[in-house]
Every structure is written in C-alpha cells, then in structure tokens.
C-alpha cells in the first residue's frame, strides 16, 4: 500500500464544524459526509489504492468551488479534485483529512463557436460529450483518451491526456485556448481566452498536466476541429511482437504519419475481441491498427502505401475496414482494452511509460522476460507511433503477494523506460502511483524546482497533496 502523509489531527478533530461550514456553501445534497457514502469515493481508476476522505463536496458553479477552496484554505484543509474518477495513476486518491471536490455536476456546455472553432465547457463535461455536441456540424474535439466515454475534460486538462489519435492531432495541451481556474485562496482567474499563444508566461501550458497541484480548473475553452472527409482503419497481423515493432518503424520512416498507429499483443487481442467482436486476428502474436484519413481516393492511396510496407514484414493478414460499423467496432475494442482485460484477470496495473520508438523490440523482449521471472502475465497495448506503452500487468488483488509483485514489476518496467531514454508516464500522469519513482527521472534540484513552482501557487501545499512529488525530500536526495 502506498504511503500517505499522516492526517492533520486538528482537521480530523474539527470534522463536524468543517462539514457544517461546507454545507453552507453548496446546495443541500452537495456535501457527502456519512461514512458509508464516502466509501465509494475512496478510490478512482486505480482501485488498488484506497483512502476514505473527510468529506466529498459537489459544487455546481465556479463561485461555489471558489467558496469551498477559500473555506478549506482558511481552515488549512487539504483538497483533492475529482472528475469522473477514471485516473489510472491514482490522481484522485483521497486523503483521510482531505475534502474531495467533485466537479461532476458542472457538466454544461456553455458556448460553441464554429467560426472561431472553439467550445467553452465546464470541467465535468465528458471528453466525448464535446465531440457529441459538435458532431452534427462535422467537428470534433481531437484528444481521445480510451476512457473518453466517461473521463471528464477537467481531468483531461489536469493530466494532459493523450489518446490514439494524438499522433496527428496532439495531446490536450495542444488543443486548449483558455481556462477558468480557482486558486487555493479562492480567487477565480481567467487564463488564455479564445486567441492563440500566451502574452506573458504560458500558464495554460503549465497548468495543463499539473495534476491538480496548482489550482482547480472549472471551465475550459477547447479548440474544435473539422473532421476529415472520411477515415478508415486497417488491421495488420504479424507473427511476432518484434516484427510488428519493426513495421511501425518502417511506416514512420517512409514519411507517412497515420492518424493512429496502435499495437496490441496476443493477450490483448483476445480480451478485446471478446468484448468488441471486431474481427481481430486471433491467430496473430501482434496486431497493428493503422488509421488514415481523407477522401476515399486519398485513403486508398495511403492504405496502398502502408500495405506495401506491411507486406515486407510477412504479415499473417492485412484487413481494411469495409464500413463505418466495422471501424467503430475496431475502435470499440481498442478503447475498451483496459476494461476488457478484466475478462481475463480480476485486476491489472496499467503502465504508461514512453520510449524512443527504435527501442521498442528490445523493451518488448525485456518486458516478456520480466513477466516470466515475476510469474505475472502481461497484455501489451501501445500507442506505437509515439512510443507510449501500456503494458497491463495482470494480478489478483485478493492475493497480497500477487499485488506486491505486480507493483514491483511495474516499477521495473518504468525504470526500463527511463533507462532507454524514455519517461515514466506519457499520458496518465504521475499521480500517487509513480510518485516515488520521480527520482528515477529527476534529480533533487529538479524536483525542488518543481516543488517551488507548486509553492508559488499553493503555499501551504493543500492541493492534491501526496501526488506527483515524493513525500520525503530525503528520498529524492538519496537517489
């Protein structure tokens, strides 16, 4: 179990008064304080780590968020922001003395502007909710994390979420224009707007991916893009992971950047096929989903070029989607991949390292070796085009030994990613899960530099405490 800081005794002692104070700030059913009802809020998408919070507050407006933060600030109470609770790194893990501020009720789309191609939405709007709102005009919001059905845009901003299509369209940070944020002191600030580029410091860039360390984001101005004329996915099946990896390299080297280039190994293919019935090749060791966009003729042209490259790697099969339904099924399988692993294992840990793509075959081989030595199965699902790996380590949470091995195995994979020139997390965030690995990637000076920035925003370290930064500075210094 991950170490959390000791709760502040004065906060715990003041619990009744604090809850009464919070009740005065939000509508009547907006404060959850009964022990039983707090339990479902004890964890997020990383269910291995759990901690029941002091209380949960569900504000409905930015002003209510500001009032809650001001109150917590005045009372020295820690705050954990939460959206849909889909974080795979424990980004919304509560603390025993913390108030969870849930933004799920702020789920309105405030403005859509097609001429200037932006939408203003509240933090609790789901990622897919934005695209759904602009789809009939042919527009979409580009970043598409696999959890896009459920995950909320506020969380996307805080984690700088990516997705399968960010190879072409970029990650969250590349698709934002403005934010409305609330500081821990309860001040409401406007960052950016509807224009491009920041005149002063790039607060938008800093806040994106800041994992709730700096402020709470309540409103977001996102760029919306006109979709292409059409898109088509192709499934390419190969005899070995390494072969599929080499094929990825060859595609990129040819000067073609597909909109998506996804990799799945055998266990992942089988789990996802059981869920999506997408016609995945069950006889393959590895499969690529390659998607191209454009008119029908442009798609044919690009798929022809890609097919020619794939054929150099002795594929088992190459199959181009023949209909919108077939493409939807292909993506349903990929996007449900993590959950689908729930069909073959009661629990999993999802890793998120990124590596230089040229090291893919080597890293895959070494993960395979580790899998054998730990005696734990792995399903591999990657955004292959940009080197972002998602090895899913399967374990049984009812067996403490198994969980402990999975944690250690995961840490070894991430260390390997850093060793080959990559990083700990490509799109899921450090959260609580990778917090203690930060010294692998950053030295003490670098961590202190980041800590000082946090302090500039949140002098008392009340916001999402115990995430991102190792708890004890001496751990960092020792590394």
């Amino acid at each position: 179990m991950i170490e959390l800081p000791p709760p502040k005794p004065e906060t715990l002692a003041a619990r009744p008064r604090l809850i009464a104070g919070l009740r005065a700030l939000v509508p009547e059913d907006g404060v959850i304080a009964e022990a039983l009802c707090l339990k479902p809020y004890e964890t997020d998408g990383l269910a291995a780590y759990r901690q029941v919070p002091l209380a949960v507050v569900l504000p409905e407006t930015t002003e209510q968020v500001a009032a809650v933060l001001r109150f917590c600030h005045e009372n020295g109470v820690r705050v954990v922001p939460r959206g849909a609770g889909t974080s795979l790194s424990g980004g919304a893990l509560p603390l025993a003395d913390a108030v969870v501020v849930g933004l799920m009720r702020m789920n309105r789309i405030l403005d859509i502007n097609y001429a200037d191609r932006y939408a203003v939405v509240q933090a609790g709007v789901t990622n897919i909710g934005i695209t759904d709102a602009v789809r009939e005009r042919g527009f979409f919001y580009a970043p598409d994390p696999s959890s896009q059905l459920a995950c909320m845009i506020g969380g996307n901003v805080n984690m700088n979420s990516g997705g399968a299509h960010c190879l072409k369209y970029g990650v969250t940070a590349n698709n934002l224009l403005g934010l409305r944020i609330v500081t821990i002191a309860g001040e409401i600030l406007e960052i950016g707007g509807t224009h491009l580029d920041a005149a002063g410091y790039d607060w938008l860039g800093l806040l994106t991916g800041s994992e709730g360390q700096l402020a709470i984001v309540t409103e977001i101005t996102v760029r919306i893009l006109r979709g292409p004329e059409g898109a088509r996915a192709m499934l390419a099946a190969f005899r070995a992971n390494e072969v599929a990896g080499a094929c990825v390299d060859a595609i990129i080297a040819s000067g073609i950047i597909p909109v998506a280039l996804e990799f799945m190994d055998r266990p992942a293919i089988h789990a996802c096929e059981a869920f999506a019935h997408a016609g995945y090749p069950l006889d393959a060791e590895a499969m690529l989903i390659i998607e191209v966009e454009g008119s029908a003729a442009e798609q044919d042209d690009l798929l022809g070029r890609i097919r020619a490259i794939c054929e150099r790697f002795d594929p088992i099969s190459l199959k181009v989607s023949q209909s919108a339904e077939e493409s939807a099924a292909i993506w349903k399988g990929r996007k449900g991949a993590f959950g689908a692993v729930g069909r073959i294992s009661p629990d999993y840990l999802c890793m998120d390292g990124t590596i230089p793509t040229s090291r893919l075959p080597e890293v895959l081989r070494r993960i395979g070796e580790m899998s054998e030595s730990y005696g734990l199965k792995v399903a591999n699902i990657f955004h292959a085009g940009d080197g972002n790996l998602h090895p899913l380590i399967m374990f049984d949470a009812n067996d403490p030994e198994s969980f402990h091995s999975a944690e250690t195995f995961g840490a070894d994979i991430l260390k390997l990613c850093v060793e080959v020139g990559g990083c700990l997390t490509g799109e899921h965030g450090v959260g609580v899960e990778k917090r203690d690995l930060m010294p692998v990637q950053f030295n003490a000076r670098e961590l202190d530099q980041q800590r000082r920035i946090k302090t500039a925003f949140d002098p008392d370290w009340l916001l999402n405490t115990a995430k991102v930064f190792p708890l004890k500075p001496d751990i960092a210094h020792a590394a």
Binding site: Y114, D116, Y118, G138, G162, V171, T183, E187, L189, I191, G193, T194, H195, L196, D197, A198, A199, G200, Y201, D202, L204, G205, L206, T208, G209, S210, Q213, R226, G227, P228, I252, G255, G294, A297, E298, D301, T354, P356, T357, S358, D386, G387, N388, G421, G422, C423, T425, G426, E427, H428, G429, V430, E446, L447, Q449, Q450, R452, I453, T455, F457
Partner: protein, 402 residues
C-alpha cells in the same frame, strides 16, 4: 557592457551562479536578432550570450526527434532536418529583416520567444513541439524537463513554461524538438479582392472544411504587392495553403476552390510560388513599415482580426492577417497614443499583444504585453522568484520590476 560567451553548459551555470551570488543582473541573448528590439529593454550589468553553446546533439529522424544546444543557428537545424525530408513543425519565422538584427537567429532565441509561423493555426506553436529542455535557473542550477520522447507528462511541464518566457526564468541550454516529415507538395488557393471581413469569413470556411488547411492569411492590396508571387493580383488576397502528398494537394486545392465558389473565383498557385509566398508571410515581408514605425503582434480570435485591421486603418498604419485572421502584424508610427489605440482594440476583442519593435524609451514606458490581473500577477512574481530569486535574468523584459 561586459559580454560573456561561454561554450559549455557548466560554464553558463557558473556564470549565473556567480551573478546570483552577487545579485548581478544579466541580459541573456543569442545572436541578438530580436533582443534589442522586442518587449521592454533589459537593464543589466553584463550580457550572457549563449551563441557559443551550439551544435546538434541528437537527431533521430525515425523517432521524429532532434535535440540541439541553445546557441545553434536555427538555419543549421532546418538544413539538417531538410536533408532527411523533415521540417520544424511550427515553421518559426525569421524576423531579422523586421527587427533589424544581423546574424543568424538561434534555436534558444526562437524557443524563448515562442514564435511560430503560418502553420501554427493547425499544427501548433513552437512550444507545442518542445519535447525536452535543459536550462540553468537563476541560481545557477542545471535542470531538465521533458525528454526525447513524443509523449511525456512526468512532472510539471517546464518545457512550455520556459518556452516564451524570454529568458526571464532560466537560460535555455538545450532543446529537443519534435519534427515531422516535410510535405511532398504545397498548393495555395487565392481569392482576390475581398476586404478583411469577407476574407476572414472565407478563411473560416476553409478552416472549417475537411481539407486540412495549413496556412490561412489575408493581405491588403499594398501588402500583397510586396510579395512577388501575389503582386499580379493587384488586390487584397485571401490565401489558404494545403501541404500534403502530390495527389492530395491537387485534389484538395480543387475542392477548396469549389467550396469557396460563393466568395468568388479562386486561383490556385503551384508548389514553387506557394513555398515562396508562405515564406514571405512567415517572415512578415508583406508588412510595410517605415524606420520610425513601431511593430505590434496582436493575437485575437480569428473573427476579431478585421476589427483590429479597422483600428489600424484609423491610425494610418499597415497590417496583415495570418492564422485565419487571429494574428495581426501591425506597423504604425512609434507613438504612445498609437500603442494605446492598438492595445485598446486588442483588449476590446479579448486578445493580447506583444510590442515587437519600438525605440528603447518608448518600450521602457509601455505595457509591452498585457498586464495581468492582480492575483495572477502575484503568482507571476512568485514563480519568477521560484526560478530566479535575485531577479537577475533579463530583469524587466516582460513587466517593469520583474
């Protein structure tokens, strides 16, 4: 003034540590192609130039990554990636003609100013492609952020914070950029004779089309006349660029021309003239300016661009629009009241500005970028102190007293 030009990162760190110890303000520069014209003048006891800390340190074309030391001339990087059929995505401009700088601009300079060209409208800014940085903060500590991979959210994103911080937080020493394959072909669809409002509407239609527009500019007649490839139109021009494989460019330029039928009969420019004219737009060649003019760069929502054009016209200044109408390059006589009028227009449209060129005395007395709300300004000050507690790096460059 004292000029120090170290070669190694360690020496740069030593210089800054020393300056920190003695609270000696430093002007951080590269080849000074922009620093003597842009934003507020820096009052420093010494100049630290990074031009000798140069050279490409890593280029992995298959991984779409290039890393170079801050003093590396941008042209050297552009040549290296071009040799592999790749390009710098944000198409950074060369403003030496506009800002009067001699010499070659450096990678560090363009990243520190976060300057991007026409492709910014669809492909992102320089800061969007900075995958990693090494830097020396104001106490002389070497720090890094990001890395050499394409996706990285480990820790706070200092790559973005330091991009566009104009050397006021840290001295960038090494930068890793994402690069992409250069397009096989370029084509431009041109509408002649539309005034700004209508031109920007056409650009909105183009950017709202499925044809992947990678450049969208509007030039008034006198600006178009300064670009040889456009002079023959003898009119204001509305330009949309498409970059892709050869058959795609042919197909999409035709489709866009059809899409634009309601705006008038559009012409299509082939590859070579297209490349030349977008380079001119990138480097602000269409902007007419006299030696006594100040230059502003204004960023607004694209549909507000024509309002800035109208405000500039009232001053008798020159301007043109890029980024679909959202980026306005403005030239007008360097006077405080002109600054007030332009910034008022930008503010009225919820936009921002940068004073890119003006005489020192004027630059020192104006808000060269918009002032921040008090609560945000407090954060700015604290973040500055978090990097540079003595306030020795480019003091006053963005805000007086910071």
């Amino acid at each position: 003034m004292n000029a120090i030009a170290p070669e190694a990162e360690g020496e740069i760190a030593d210089v800054i540590a020393e300056a920190h110890a003695h609270a000696t303000p430093l002007a951080l520069v590269g080849n000074e192609t922009k620093s003597n014209a842009m934003l507020r003048p820096v009052q420093a006891a010494a100049t630290l130039t990074l031009r000798n800390h140069a050279g490409i340190s890593l280029y992995a074309p298959k991984e779409l990554i290039i890393a170079a030391r801050a003093g590396t001339p941008l042209a050297e990087i552009e040549a290296a990636v071009a040799a592999e059929g790749q390009q710098i995505i944000a198409e950074p401009p060369d403003l030496s003609a506009l800002l009067g700088g001699a010499g070659q601009q450096t990678l560090g300079g363009i990243v520190a100013c976060n300057l991007s060209g026409p492709r910014r409208i669809t492909a992102g800014a320089m800061r969007d492609h900075v995958m990693g940085v090494r830097a020396v903060n104001g106490t002389g500590e070497v720090i890094h952020s990001g890395g050499r991979v394409l996706k990285n959210v480990t820790g706070l994103d200092l790559c973005k914070l330091l991009s566009g911080s104009y050397g006021t937080l840290a001295a960038l020493t090494e930068i890793t950029l994402k690069v992409l394959p250069a397009s096989e072909a370029v084509g431009t669809v041109v509408l002649a004779g539309l005034e700004a409002e209508r031109g920007v509407a056409a650009l909105a239609a183009a950017l709202g089309s499925p044809f992947g527009i990678s450049g969208a500019a509007w030039l008034p007649r006198e600006a178009a006349a300064r670009v040889p490839e456009l002079a023959a139109f003898d009119a204001a021009v509305t330009l949309a660029r498409i970059e892709d494989f050869i058959p795609s460019v042919a197909y999409r330029t035709e489709r866009l021309r059809a899409e634009w039928a309601g705006f008038g009969a559009a012409a299509i420019l082939e590859d070579a003239p297209s490349r030349a004219l977008w380079r001119a737009v990138r480097d602000t060649a269409p902007l007419g300016h006299a030696s006594g003019d100040a230059i502003w760069r204004v960023s607004v929502a694209p549909s507000a661009g024509p309002r800035i054009v109208a405000a500039v016209a009232r001053l008798g200044g020159n301007c043109f629009l890029d980024w679909g109408g959202g980026l306005v390059w403005v030239a007008a006589p360097a006077r405080a009241e002109n600054h007030a009028a332009i910034t008022h227009a930008a503010r009225a449209s919820r936009g921002v500005w940068w004073l890119m060129r003006a005489p020192d005395a004027l630059r020192a007395s104006l808000d060269v970028v918009p002032e921040e709300a008090p609560a945000l300004a407090r954060i700015t000050r604290r973040v500055k102190e978090a990097f540079d507690p003595q306030g020795i790096l480019n003091p006053g460059r963005l805000f007086a007293g910071l």
